[in-house]
Amino acid sequence: MSEYREIIIDHYKNPRNMGELPGADKIVDEANSSCGDLIKIFVKINDEKITEMKWQGIGCAISTAGASMLSEKVVGMNKVDLEKFGEGGVVQMLGGEINAGRMKCATLAFRGLLKVFE
């Protein structure tokens, strides 16, 4: 049960930056087909860098915490920064250990964000 650290439970219960972002420059949807988790990501971009991220979605504790923590982490990142951060960065951010069966949950928001720069 190492996934259910305090920080994950905290972000799950009190998700940060949840909601719509009026005037967003990009809106993307991402889904996990096997479990039905959905996320909608809104970002404002200035000079090719993310200046603000908000999100809406239904998901498990891991995907919710992943989106919540990422929404704080990505401010100031451009495409290269985000790619460098990578799935490894997501795992680190979530506490350093995610079981392989839950990687799709952990990276749901991250995969959505990658689409922002497509």
Binding site: M1, E3, Y4, I9, Y12, C35, L38, N99, R102
Partner: protein, 426 residues
């Protein structure tokens, strides 16, 4: 005498520890565990017999061919069929695709209709969706009530999207002369709903006499006595790995006169009669539908699995599962009354060994992972039946499924640990 403790001794994997706990395997709906007899039969085949079938005149090839033939005979006897009506495929999904491609291509035309139900696994839904889309045929879907039982009559709903016309309603409204195929599950893989196969066959014969009937037996054949000679259906499909056999082998049973008229699905070796540079004739049944070298060791394993199931007795297995199910539903209903969980699915009388649920306020994946930390293997997600799961207003469910090796003590343990799930999020 059915003795679950003796049965458990035959399954080596049940001795495994998971995160320091005894394994509680509640995911037989996804795949069953294998008894020593099956593992040993496959081992023995590779150690002593391995040779290709229908090829050599030498001893080992003859033995291999005989082993495959014997399994075909066993499987035929197991479901009340003739040997040449048993086609070995990879799994139930491939069996359905075989029918949809081979029979469907020739027999479904613009304006025809195919009937399925909302209970279907994606494997018995997508092949028909795609066939109907391609042919300009209509897909009709029998809806379910709030318990997950098939509706007899219901207000018709029409959906047209992506070039496909879908009509949702009850049995009585969806059957008419346009219907050429009725494909439905014998038991829901999500809710455990046992569909009234005989009753459905009767109404199909009356209202759509020209339609063929395919039953998805993936969740049925492993758990109860099935006799196709008495059911009045045309096709039955199932997977070996859900009935104690290995992965890689499935079965298509079809009525001989229908299979004979169907064109081959896959072309190549072993399915031909005479070959010239300009073409070929097809082999007789069942070879016509078995192109290429099959999973011989898998077929040998399936034979051992059928032998094991018959030794224990399908009626004993069915009764044991019902007993565990009834016990589990009782315990789970108590949790539901406490407001801890939400249960889905019909009453025990019309349900096989499946209990889908959600812990209130906790996502199915989180519940499943916390249960795993206590050694309990349950499935979570949409169970390859997204339209059914989401019709209950949730994106995912946790599902515990039972088989002949599960016990009431295991149920008690799971019920106890479901309480722990809520504590993590308290």
């Amino acid at each position: 005498m059915f003795d679950v403790n003796k049965i458990r001794e035959n399954f080596p994997i049940l001795k495994r520890k998971i995160h320091g706990h005894n394994l509680i395997y509640f995911d037989s709906g996804a795949t069953s565990q294998k008894p020593e007899a099956v593992i040993e039969a496959m081992n023995k085949y590779y150690r002593e017999t391995n040779a290709n079938i229908h090829r050599g005149v030498y001893e080992m090839s003859v033995e291999s061919t005989r082993l495959v033939d014997e399994t075909r005979t066993q499987v035929a006897k197991f479901i009340g069929a003739k040997e040449e009506e048993i086609i070995f495929t990879r799994n139930a999904t491939e069996s359905i695709n075989l029918v949809a491609y081979s029979w469907g291509e020739e027999n479904i035309h613009k304006g025809d209709a195919v009937v399925i139900t909302k209970l279907e696994h994606h494997s018995n839904m997508i092949p028909w969706q795609e066939l109907c889309r391609k042919k300009g045929a209509q897909l009709r879907v029998v809806d379910v009530n709030e318990k997950g039982e098939l509706e007899k009559a219901k207000k018709i709903e029409m959906i047209e999207e992506n070039g496909l016309k879908v009509v949702v309603g009850g049995w009585s409204d969806l059957l008419d002369d346009k219907v050429k195929m009725v494909a439905f599950t014998g038991q829901s893989n999500v809710l455990g709903t046992e569909t009234p196969v005989e009753e459905i066959v009767k109404i199909v014969k009356r209202k759509s006499p020209g339609a063929l009937i395919l039953v998805d037996g993936a969740q049925m054949v492993p758990h109860m006595q099935v006799d196709v000679s008495k059911l009045g259906i045309d096709f039955l499909v199932f997977s070996g790995h859900k009935m104690l056999g290995p992965t890689g082998v499935g079965v298509l049973w079809g009525k001989k006169e229908i299979l004979k008229k169907m064109k081959p699905f896959l072309f190549g070796g072993d399915m031909i009669g005479e070959v010239k540079l300009t073409g070929a004739t097809w082999a007789e049944l069942p070879a016509k539908f078995e192109a290429g070298t099959p999973d011989i060791a898998g077929i040998v394993g399936l034979g051992a699995a059928v032998k094991y199931l018959e030794f224990v007795g399908m009626e004993n297995i069915h009764n044991h599962e019902k007993e565990v199910l009834q016990y589990a539903l009782g315990k789970m209903r108590d949790l539901e009354k406490e407001g801890l969980i939400i249960l889905y699915g019909p009453d025990a009388e019309t349900r096989g060994g499946a209990v889908p649920f959600n812990v209130v306020g906790v996502h199915a994946h989180d519940t499943a992972q916390i249960l795993d930390s206590f050694g309990i293997a349950v499935r979570s997600g949409q169970h390859c039946a997204a339209p059914l799961v989401t019709s209950f207003g949730v994106m995912a469910m946790v599902r515990a499924t039972f088989y002949l090796y599960n016990t009431k003590e295991e149920v008690d343990y799971m019920v106890d640990k479901i309480r722990e799930v809520q504590k993590v999020f308290a």
